[in-house]
Point group: C2
Chain length 175, copies 2
């Protein structure tokens, strides 16, 4: 199942670090790519691109000047993460059995009302206020059933060797 994350309403100055964390969490927890709306931000794309270059895999980042257009044209299932939605433990059962490509929509601070109707599923990861980063990560973790935790990323220049103490990183030549 392919998964793309749609990050709404990015503001380059204010959301710089949070949007980076959203996109890196998307990549680390098994999404294939991300699309972001709001204001175009080449530096956000560069930051994530640099991580992909070092740590591997084929994660892509694209800008859309119309999140609505992206959602409406999506060939597959649209899942919107919102604290107001259906409990993830229920919803995930249906979502997991649908083989369609998934577009997982996560908000910025102001989410347009319309997305609630455009989504096939509105899903809440707890009904408490927390973070789009944590909501997305736990959702993807439940979607992939934990397999994503040991995903390997092809073409990595850096690979961590897990250790009980200290740090061990293997640096590989890409040539």
């Amino acid at each position: 199942m392919t998964v793309t994350v749609l990050r709404l309403g990015h503001r380059p100055q204010r959301d710089k670090r949070l949007s980076t964390h959203v996109l890196l969490a998307a990549r680390a927890f098994g999404a294939d790519g991300a699309i972001y709306g709001g204001t175009e931000d080449p530096r956000l794309e560069e930051r994530v691109g640099k991580i992909v270059e070092d740590w591997g895999g084929g994660f892509t980042v694209q800008y859309t000047d119309s999140w609505r257009g992206t959602v409406k044209a999506w060939q597959g299932d649209v899942v919107h993460l919102t604290m107001y939605g259906l409990p993830v433990r229920e919803a995930i059962k249906e979502i997991r059995v649908s083989p369609e490509p998934k577009l997982v929509v996560v908000g910025g601070p102001k989410v347009p009302r319309e997305i609630y109707d455009l989504a096939k599923w509105n899903v809440s990861v707890t009904t408490q206020p927390h973070s789009e980063v944590s909501a997305l990560a736990v959702f993807l973790h439940m979607l992939f059933g934990g397999e994503e935790l040991e995903k390997s990323f092809g073409g990595a220049r850096l690979i961590i060797k897990p250790r009980g103490r200290g740090k061990e990183v293997e640096a590989l030549s890409k040539d």
Copy 2:
């Protein structure tokens, strides 16, 4: 099992939103409270305090001027989340069976080397770069086995009624 999160190296200006997200994720995913190091920041404490007031539960936030002292004095298990640690799927088995109070340490950008030796477990939630927010949330989700997703928070003024479309919030009087 009680869980306290220790957030290292907070910088009020730069980390304002990320630290808030770390603390809110800690609360939403079932931790009892948090301690933060770095620079003291009454506004961070106020932001989280306001959420607790509205959304309930007994989550507390405290500042420490010595993370080292906090870790060394901890009566229980210290778990450090780091991309260099042992895979969470393995480590969580041992961590879950230990009934001791847990101190879950999450870094800022520069984590002091010493923490690797002070922790009982260094645990990696994927070996990829992402976010302390996502690492913490997925770790707590695995620690509590998903039960935290439906945790109820006593004394809430606002309670969300999960819905497939739109938003429904019940506002309760606290008197």
